[in-house]
Symmetry: C2
Subunit: 206 residues, 2 copies
């Protein structure tokens, strides 16, 4: 029996995965968490073989959680069950030490295959992943994870605040907020506010 913990901020997804996986007898869900912090807390009391986590979660995202898990519980295998296909996140998750990656539109068979593979010490990556990584290579664009301040400002932009409003809220110069905004546009390789907001939503920031 492979002991599994699921981390995702959507209750119904957790519950659905649980029901789906427990129809099999090769694994057992021993716990679930709604964010990275809960996940780490849970692991202290509940050892498990495989953690199946989303990337975008409030409080602590999957990347940071993965790093922490492998630091404190190195025998645990972390795999990613992601809702999006952002090349930067995939890379960050792999760098953090995730050994599996499955997309939301995968079949349950694929998910089960992936779980068995990572538990057996192998790596499992969705076929689509290779295409994305290939494109990333050719495109050559490095994706930087945003800093705390940048996230904060991106969040406010997505909440429909203007630069002057954000500046007032954070006790900053409008110029500073503008600089952050422009850095965000460059880092995320988008064209304007619309692109920023889409990224914020995709990445679970709002």
């Amino acid at each position: 029996m492979i002991k599994i913990i699921i981390a995702d901020d959507h209750y119904i997804i957790r519950d659905g995965l649980k029901a789906m996986l427990e129809k099999n007898d090769f694994c057992k869900i021993v716990g679930e968490a709604a964010n990275g912090e809960e996940l780490l807390e849970l692991l202290k009391t509940t050892p498990c073989d495989v953690v199946c986590t989303d990337i975008s979660m409030p409080v602590m995202d999957g990347v940071e959680a993965t790093k922490q898990i492998l630091k404190h519980f190195p025998k645990t295998k972390v795999m990613c069950l992601s809702m999006h296909e952002e090349a930067g996140f995939i890379k960050k998750m792999m760098e953090a030490g995730a050994v599996g990656y499955v997309f939301k539109d995968a079949s349950k068979e694929e998910l089960q295959t992936a779980i068995k593979a990572v538990h057996g010490g192998k790596k499992y990556f969705n076929q689509k992943l290779f295409d994305i990584l290939l494109n990333m290579e050719s495109g050559g664009k490095e994706v930087n994870i945003l800093s705390a301040r940048e996230k904060e400002i991106l969040k406010l932009i997505s909440e429909e605040y203007t630069n002057p409003e954000i500046a007032e809220k954070l006790f900053l110069s409008v110029r500073t907020v503008d600089t952050h905004r422009q850095n965000l546009i460059q880092k995320l390789d988008v064209k304007n506010t619309a692109g920023l907001v889409k990224y914020a939503i995709k990445s679970g920031l709002i």
Copy 2:
């Protein structure tokens, strides 16, 4: 046995719900669809008691699907399992004839209660719904469904095109695109591009 069809554009949510609900013996999933069109096609060959649908789906959204279903299969009960809490959509779904409304963060117990209720001819609405509807009443804002042209332009805005670019694409004057943009901002009661993009994503337009 209550015969259920699930409609949602996310495979893993469908599969999860299926596994979750089939642990009970009071209902059976007889089919699933990824959008409104698939749902209607499915109903032609597969009669069911309760349709459990998301609102935001590509091709045909939940509101239109609900109308069509109740037109062609009036005995079918339609309930909404929604990912968002947009007051306008809730109202539209109710006007379209949905008799149940459950949020994504509901428990499986609540979902089961809701299914039984609507099958028994009752209505079931999440408690949180009342709060939202109350606020809607006091706010008094009517939500207008967007016209085809407005949707088209909103889509392009969300794809990071500027007004001049959109004007060129659609062979329109920049002023016209600007007018549409402003009408969108007013209709959707948002402040700027960020709000428009959020709406576009929430409503499944992109």
